[in-house]
């Protein structure tokens, strides 16, 4: 997905520390998420707050957000990058402070990937099922791509 949808993906150091496990839906065991191979393949870039400005913004945002979200918002803001999150607190803060950050959600990324790569519905359905079972992620009712997800997930 990362290679074919016309987007470049990056994760901040703090967010990478927090992305720890997926769950095996059968055994219930936790399975460590390995980001390093993706980074080495050049599919994922690891970012850290570097400039004084970014570091201060990171600290300021860390007053109300957790590290992963704070560093991601700080870097997205200062480097003019789009941010994919469905974290309500982070999104509320971005809206409230009027930050000029283009917002995506994990669900909108998947939808973009399906459209851009013309992925057939059965394959997309399989990806959504995996996302739902292994990452326990599904969009909330009322979110922009909820209907798309629901339609594709229905039996």
């Amino acid at each position: 997905m990362a290679g074919g949808c016309g987007l470049r993906f990056a994760i901040t150091r703090a967010a990478a520390r927090e992305a720890l496990f997926l769950h095996d839906p059968v055994s219930g065991e936790r399975e460590r998420i390995e980001l390093q191979p993706l980074i080495e393949e050049g599919l994922l870039e690891l970012l850290a707050a570097e400039s004084e400005n970014e570091k201060e913004r990171y600290l300021e945002l860390a007053l109300s957000l957790d590290d992963g979200e704070a560093e991601s918002v700080a870097i997205a803001e200062t480097r003019n990058l789009a941010l994919a999150t469905d974290d309500k607190k982070a999104r509320n803060l971005i809206r409230r402070e009027g930050l000029k950050i283009e917002l995506w959600s994990p669900c909108s990324l998947l939808r973009h990937w399906q459209g851009k790569c013309a992925v057939p519905d059965p394959e997309t359905k399989c990806v959504l099922a995996n996302t739902s079972n292994r990452a326990k992620y599904r969009p909330k009712c009322g979110q922009p791509d909820f209907e798309w997800w629901k339609k594709l997930s229905s039996p």
């Binding site: 927090e18 769950h23 936790r30 007053l63 957790d66 590290d67």
Partner: protein, 437 residues
């Protein structure tokens, strides 16, 4: 911007947090200075709050101590209000084998940290924990023995809480909901059974080892409640070591209180009479095991209680032990399944507050994860299960005080150590435990 953010953080509070993080790792100021390329006096000045940190320095400290930046800069005051109490309560001077102080302090810190999180969730949801605390019972002023005093207090508390003399099917719910204590179950080092701390802001806080069986957890809860009733302002760390407490009045009281509160004299006598009358024979081991399960205590606790009440011969428990009696096997043979259960880690109300705060956008996903001491995927699973329970019950959004759902909730997969109660009458086909006590 630099001035703003770093000036928002009180240097004294930040210094305390950095000092505490360094100490937890057992590092000296010199070692930290070397590692970060500072001079030692810089670390000293920052920890004392005499010098403000720069953004670079703060990020370097966070990395060095493996701490989240958000933890270090959060605006709530660094209180550690219970810590000095706990330090004073560490019972090493009374132990035959001293217990590593850092291990004990970790248990204490964890209780304080969970209680602080609980309070923060209440503040985010504007839902303070209702308290119904009785006045302290003055143990030191009493002219009777701690055991007699414990029986009187247990009766009075049972009556105050409307429990009569029946078994308490969900002791934790009574303490959380009717009294307003903060009760947490989490991993503790072997031989630490439970701890208790109190201050006006957090209220009464109890921590119990999550590894203990359900009935052992009940005993610890009742024991710590005994401390809350009499010596509220002195923290307690309950370590199981032979002969530890000797004749300390407070400990004799707490243990006796637990026995009387969980197994009230009249309730036990009545139940025993019913059993005896129905069969017209002496109490058997099966009766003992079933009675223990009925009152939610260990077989040992029930046996000693019956000895104390003179319903069985003194020394019965010692004889059973000498005869290689295995309570777990006996429970299994009788199908008393709840003995395998464990208490749930979190109060139901805590989970619901966390869910409410998360859904309102007051708590980010990672903050939720930290509140639940888990990983993102497990936290999502917990939220989803809360969703399914709440929605299926009422068909609408939940409220913050869904006590009515508690029973159903406690039986859910989410709280997989729930307390299912399988009431089993004795049957004739249970030979392994059918001997007379």
């Amino acid at each position: 911007m630099s001035q703003n953010i770093l000036e928002k953080i009180d240097p004294k509070i930040l210094g305390e947090r950095l000092k505490s993080a360094r100490r937890e790792l057992g590092l000296t100021q010199e070692a930290v200075a070397d590692k970060l390329g500072f001079v030692r006096t810089t670390v000293v000045a920052i920890e004392k709050g005499e010098r403000r940190v720069t953004a670079d320095e703060l990020l370097a400290f966070a990395k060095c101590y493996a701490r989240n930046v958000s933890e270090l800069v959060k605006q709530s005051a660094f209180t550690e209000a219970l810590t000095p109490q706990f330090r004073a309560a560490l019972p090493n001077s009374q132990l035959e084998t001293p217990f590593p102080e850092d291990q004990l302090m970790r248990v204490c810190h964890e209780l304080e940290s969970r209680a602080e999180d609980y309070l923060e969730l209440e503040q985010l949801c504007n839902a303070p924990l209702p308290r119904d605390y009785p006045n302290q019972y003055p143990l030191e002023d009493s002219r009777v023995s701690p055991e007699q005093f414990a029986e009187d207090v247990a009766q009075e508390e049972r009556s105050r809480l409307g429990l009569g003399d029946a078994p308490i099917s969900d002791l934790r719910a009574v303490f959380e909901e009717a009294v307003g204590l903060r009760v947490f179950f989490y991993e503790m080092p072997a031989s630490v059974a439970g701890i208790f701390g109190y201050n006006d802001r957090l209220g009464g806080c109890v921590g119990v080892d999550i590894g203990h069986p359900w009935y052992r957890g009940n005993w610890s809860l009742a024991h710590e409640f005994g401390h809350f009733l009499t010596t509220r302002f002195y923290a307690d760390v309950d370590i199981m070591q032979k002969g530890r407490w000797g004749k300390q009045r407070a400990e004799r009281f707490a243990d006796s209180f637990a026995a009387n509160f969980l197994m009230p004299r009249s309730g036990v006598n009545r139940r025993l009479s019913e059993v005896e009358m129905s069969r017209r024979e002496r109490i058997t081991i099966a009766d003992l095991v079933t009675l223990a399960d009925y009152f939610g205590v260990s077989v040992q606790a029930m046996c000693l209680r019956l000895e104390d009440l003179k319903r069985i011969q003194g020394g019965s428990w010692d004889r059973l032990k000498a005869g290689d009696f295995k309570p777990d096997k006996a429970r299994q043979a009788l199908g008393l399944l709840r003995s395998d259960k464990r208490h749930a880690a979190w109060p139901v109300r805590y989970l619901l507050l966390a869910k409410a705060a998360y859904e309102k956008g007051e708590l980010s996903e990672n903050q939720l994860v930290k509140k639940l001491r888990t990983d993102i995927v497990s936290a999502r699973g917990i939220m989803a299960e809360l969703d399914s329970l709440v929605v299926s019950e009422e068909g609408k959004n939940f409220q913050l005080f869904p006590w009515i759902w508690n029973h159903r909730f406690r039986q859910s997969k989410l709280l997989r150590h729930g307390r299912h109660y399988h009431s089993r009458r004795l049957s004739a086909d249970q030979p392994p435990v059918q001997r007379a006590v």
